[in-house]
């Protein structure tokens, strides 16, 4: 319990430092920082309207963060979630072209499943390339993301284009019955529930099931996994496929709940933001939930800052950038034995102290 408290305190401290630094940054531009902090809170969590906006943005972040977290627990650094998102959205929009869909919950589920399957295949491909060909998954997933975006644009502007969309090429809109609506009359769509359920379920899966434990062994200590005969390749592919399915689902949900069709707005950087969310949550699916809500909140507050204080809309990007950098850097302070550090600060005792060489950082 104490350890997990310390785990949470460090990023929170870094976040406070980031907010202070952002205050200094806007103060240099002549804006009152206290007003900025107040508006940030108001725009993100101030009232029910802000909460709706925040949660709506948090939903895809949770799912794309899982696309990094799951492979990371199996020892892979996947940064191509953006590719899974766009292909997931494309598959969701394309399915009704191929087969007639029932316009009810089953149809919506099928559309979402198509998105998840496309995402799963794309990220599993990166995992397979690494397991069977030795291609580094970080690079291959990045390349695959660019290829996916090109495919997406080609297909949306080519074969699947709705001729009625002139300025902004899009696919045909999903039927009313296939869309994902708001929950109980709010703007928050069911995608949030999907995100929450996915985070909780995968967190429990990793923590409690034998398969989840095997994935963690493969990621944490490949040698031990080999010694006890775990099927490493299968587990890694499984982790990649589940992560990819989450990101693909995020794309499908964005299409079914927000855009209603697949168009270039889908390429909004949720995949890249998910990388940072997952790293800050230390690849723990359950910790992804609060981190995604926090950064969704920053995004939601952006328009308020822009309207009230006339700050550029990129000010939220600056804040997020500072926050991510500081939280990632705060990892360096983790595990420091503060008591020992305090002892070291005292005047040194007479006897000679043996200096140990610093241990090389594990990459």
């Amino acid at each position: 319990m104490r350890a997990s408290l310390a785990d949470a305190l460090l990023p929170i401290g870094a976040l406070v430092a980031a907010l202070l630094l952002f205050g200094v940054f806007v103060a240099l531009g002549g804006t009152d920082p206290t007003e900025v902090w107040l508006l940030l809170f108001k725009g993100a969590f101030g009232d029910w309207f802000s909460w709706q906006n925040t949660l709506q943005r948090a939903a895809p972040l949770m799912l794309t963060a899982l696309c990094v977290a799951l492979p990371a627990r199996a020892g892979l650094v996947v940064i191509g979630g953006e590719g899974a998102v766009v292909l997931g959205g494309l598959a969701a929009a394309a399915l009704p072209y191929a087969v007639p869909m029932p316009g009810n919950v089953i149809g919506t589920a099928l559309v979402c499943a198509a998105g998840a399957a496309a995402g799963a295949a794309w990220i599993a491909l990166a995992g397979a390339l690494r397991q069977y060909r030795g291609v580094n998954e970080t690079i291959s997933s990045l390349l695959l993301a660019y290829i996916a975006i090109a495919l997406f644009k080609q297909i949306v502007e080519g074969p699947l284009r709705d001729p009625a969309t002139l300025n902004k090429p899009s696919t045909r809109a999903l039927d009313e019955g296939l869309r994902i609506g708001g929950m109980a009359g709010t703007d928050i769509h069911w995608g949030l529930v999907l995100g929450l359920v996915a985070c909780l379920a995968l967190g429990l899966w990793l923590a409690l099931t034998a398969r989840g434990f095997s994935v963690r062994v493969v990621g944490g200590n490949p040698r031990a996994a080999q010694l006890v005969g775990l099927p490493a390749s299968g587990l890694i592919l499984l982790a990649c496929a589940i992560g990819g399915a989450c990101a693909g689902l995020a794309g499908a949900v964005e299409v079914a709940a927000v855009h209603t069709n697949a168009n270039a707005s889908l390429i909004a950087g949720y995949g890249y933001a998910g990388i940072l969310v997952s790293f800050i949550a230390r690849h723990n699916p359950i910790a992804v939930i609060p981190v995604a809500i926090l950064f969704g909140g920053f995004g939601a507050a952006g328009s308020l800052l822009q309207r009230r204080l006339d700050l550029p809309d990129a000010s939220v990007m600056v804040l997020q950038g500072i926050a991510f950098v500081l939280i990632l850097a705060s990892e360096a302070l983790r595990g420091i034995d503060w008591r020992a550090a305090a002892v070291r600060l005292r005047p040194p005792p007479r006897r000679e102290v043996v200096q140990l060489a610093p241990v090389e950082k594990a990459v």
Binding site: L129, Q131, L143, Y146, I275
Partner: protein, 310 residues
């Protein structure tokens, strides 16, 4: 396809390769230097956008495009220096830090560059290759294609200098040593962290020149869509070039040319598969990786300490 169309088509590809290839060249050289020292910098995208904005702003304020170029290199070096310093801290992941700096650099550039979207800035004067080499072509498409970015010769010189530097100089050997074996570097009494920080910052300065060529030559204005991910894809270019600065030159022109196939086809009336052609370099890089990698061994020619090569 008749002769005129073929000429127009090849000129469009050549012109595209020369124009679009220049930012690719600088970011790939910057990334190559960084990776040779054993570290990956995904934050070059942020470096590129921030330095593009800085170049435009400095040129706008000072009236001299070359001051803009210098400012861009300085801005690039500063952001990359931050990456270098952060990654030297224990337990800080270089991939995640790179993505965070991509966000920070882009955010800073958009924030500070907001007032720069409308104004004009002094541009770099193009080098008219056709006129310099004796007016050998009457064709206006050829003449237009060979209006070369003045930073391109600088890039070629840099590529040669880096190549020679890695092979022949003490500094180059130290960078490669830090990239290939941290323990050997330490055993010889050098600071691995120091070498990597210096290489990362220098790489950022080089990548900053790419940003300058975006806003001061082609497309020649500042807006928020100025970079189409060239900074991030520098990583792919360096793999494509197998960590050789000379091959970076080739790779940059190839990536630039491949990006120009789509528009070139459009200019002669073929508008199908526009986006598929732009993806050709990525597919090629992936294919090269698949062919050249073997399970359990690092990619040929890659620095041994590089986390992304394992």
């Amino acid at each position: 396809m008749n002769w005129d169309m073929l000429l127009a088509f090849s000129a469009a590809i050549l012109g595209g390769a020369l124009r679009v290839g220049v930012p690719f060249l600088f970011v790939s050289l910057g990334e190559c230097l960084t990776e040779k020292a054993g570290r990956i910098n995904l934050g070059l995208e942020g470096v590129l956008v921030l330095s593009a904005m800085t170049a435009f702003g400095a040129s706008h304020l000072s009236g001299s495009a070359w001051i803009g170029v210098l400012a861009a290199a300085a801005a690039g070096a500063l952001l990359a220096l931050l990456h270098g310093l952060l990654c030297t801290l224990p337990r800080v992941n270089d991939v995640a830090t790179g993505i965070a700096l991509m966000l920070l650099g882009t955010g800073l550039a958009f924030y500070l560059g907001k007032p720069l979207i409308q104004p004009q800035a002094a541009q770099l004067p193009p080098i008219d290759v056709v006129r310099m080499t004796g007016n050998w072509s009457e064709s206006s498409v050829v003449q237009a294609a060979l209006q070369v970015n003045p930073l391109l010769p600088l890039g070629v010189v840099l590529a040669l200098a880096l190549w020679l530097g890695f092979a022949r100089t003490r500094w180059g050997l130290l960078v490669r040593l830090a990239g290939d074996s941290a323990s050997a570097t330490k055993a010889l009494g050098y600071s691995v962290g120091g070498i990597r920080i210096a290489a990362t910052a220098a790489g950022g300065a080089i990548a900053g020149l790419g940003g300058a060529s975006l806003t001061l030559f082609y497309p020649g204005s500042w807006n928020e869509g100025i970079s189409s991910g060239q900074g991030l894809i520098a990583v792919a270019l360096v793999i494509f070039a197998r960590w050789s600065p000379l091959r970076c030159l080739l790779a940059a022109l190839l990536f630039g040319g491949a990006g120009a196939i789509g528009p070139a086809l459009q200019s002669i009336g073929i508008s199908q598969s526009y986006y598929l052609f732009s993806a050709v370099p990525y597919v090629l890089t992936l294919v090269i990786l698949i062919i050249s990698c073997r399970p359990g061994s690092v990619a040929a020619g890659s620095p041994g300490e590089l986390s992304s090569a394992r």
